[in-house]
Symmetry: C2
């Protein structure tokens, strides 16, 4: 078994290494990487069947690393190991996992026991192991009522990137009114119906457009990492446009 670990925090890295060595019997190769880019590089340099990824690393998110790894070799078993249950990450992962792939998602706050189980489950038994809390978020996102639809999510992304309505329309190939309509639905899902925003003597307190961003952030639907990545996508699109 050939295992690659990517984790930027020194202590966590050492801890992972120790636990992995203790729990995995047929561990032949174990390599450590300190950030996402390095992980990719290492993955290309040798043969690995199993990977442990921290989300939230400098230079390249765990989600991005997983994406490129699975693109090269979909059979790779990946265990995500993260601090948070941010919806942004979870949405990102479920969107890129190949149908046949084996993966797991476990929180850093979990006791060492659970980590061992997850290691065995994913890398040896080839099961998908997903933390209870994470599972909860995942379900909510899949639910059409509570979570955002893919379209609404796109609108949210564009909104958070600071695009105008017209720019969104152009990017998503819909009419101006189409883009606005999507925003409307987004506002509704986030609880920004006209009646719901508090009113003072100064008039309505919130601007739907900006308030939506605020809510999305505080609910973890989006985070700074995800934004950086989307910013990159946007740049790509803009590059294609001006040709």
């Amino acid at each position: 078994m050939h295992l690659l670990i990517a984790e930027d925090d020194k202590l966590h890295r050492a801890f992972l290494e120790k636990v992995a060595r203790n729990t995995l019997a047929d561990l032949n190769v174990l390599t450590m990487a300190e950030d996402g880019a390095e992980a990719i590089q290492e993955f290309d340099a040798a043969e690995y069947d199993s990977v442990i990824l921290d989300l939230q690393m400098p230079r390249m998110t765990g989600v991005e690393v997983a994406k490129t790894i699975w693109a090269k070799k979909p059979s790779t078993k990946i265990l995500f190991w993260s601090n948070y249950t941010e919806e942004a990450y979870i949405r990102g992962i479920t969107k890129i996992v190949p149908s046949a792939a084996v993966y797991g998602y476990i929180l850093k706050s979990a006791p060492a026991e659970q980590l061992k189980l997850a290691l065995q489950g994913v890398f040896v038994a080839e099961q998908c192991v997903i933390d209870r809390e994470v599972r909860g978020v995942q379900q909510r996102a899949g639910d059409r009522l509570l979570g955002l639809s893919e379209l609404e999510y796109e609108a949210l992304v564009d909104l958070c990137l600071g695009l105008t309505d017209k720019a969104m329309a152009a990017r998503r190939n819909v009419s101006l009114r189409g883009a606005q309509s999507r925003l409307q639905h987004l506002y509704q899902k986030l609880g920004l119906d006209k009646g719901d925003i508090p009113v003072g003597e100064w008039g309505p307190t919130y601007n739907s457009r900006t308030r939506a961003i605020s809510l999305a952030l505080s609910q973890g639907i989006l985070n700074a990492d995800a934004l950086r990545k989307e910013e990159e996508n946007l740049r790509v699109w803009m590059g294609r446009q001006q040709k």
Copy 2:
């Protein structure tokens, strides 16, 4: 010497404890807390002269903890120990540190050697020890040209909370035009002058209002934590208003 450590991550907590015991000779009491609220509670329960705080903890940020601790006992020596150099945190700290207080700021990524030095420096020699990188950010924030002034920062906060112009005006006790003027200056500092935003066939690409949030986030001037805290402040103000 009576030391209180607040840190939510298990591994880091253990590491801190070990290093502290090894480096600090006259260590009489050492207590651990797993989040901000607990830290305050513990601080009230016994006598401490020294504290190590993680920023980014559940329930209460390290910055908030420091604020209440210094309010009770300004002579307390505090060492901040964090993952990032986010401007939001640094700005928060420099705003609340009492003039006479001794404190330090060190990154988790620093080698153990530096941590030892910081412990000695802050708790024994009573010097202020601030990491090089952090220092850099601190300076930039103080600079009138690159960083945001206090007023502009306030405007940014209100903007990110999703307030309307009128609501900002009411909250900050200025005219409507006054609030807008502050926004204007903010846009300028962030590089959103009319000429600077790219234009496609669809017209200007960015909406200044939302783009400002996007930039602030990606530059770390503000983060989700800081926002949550400001959200609280806003709620307080709104409560006072409706009386």
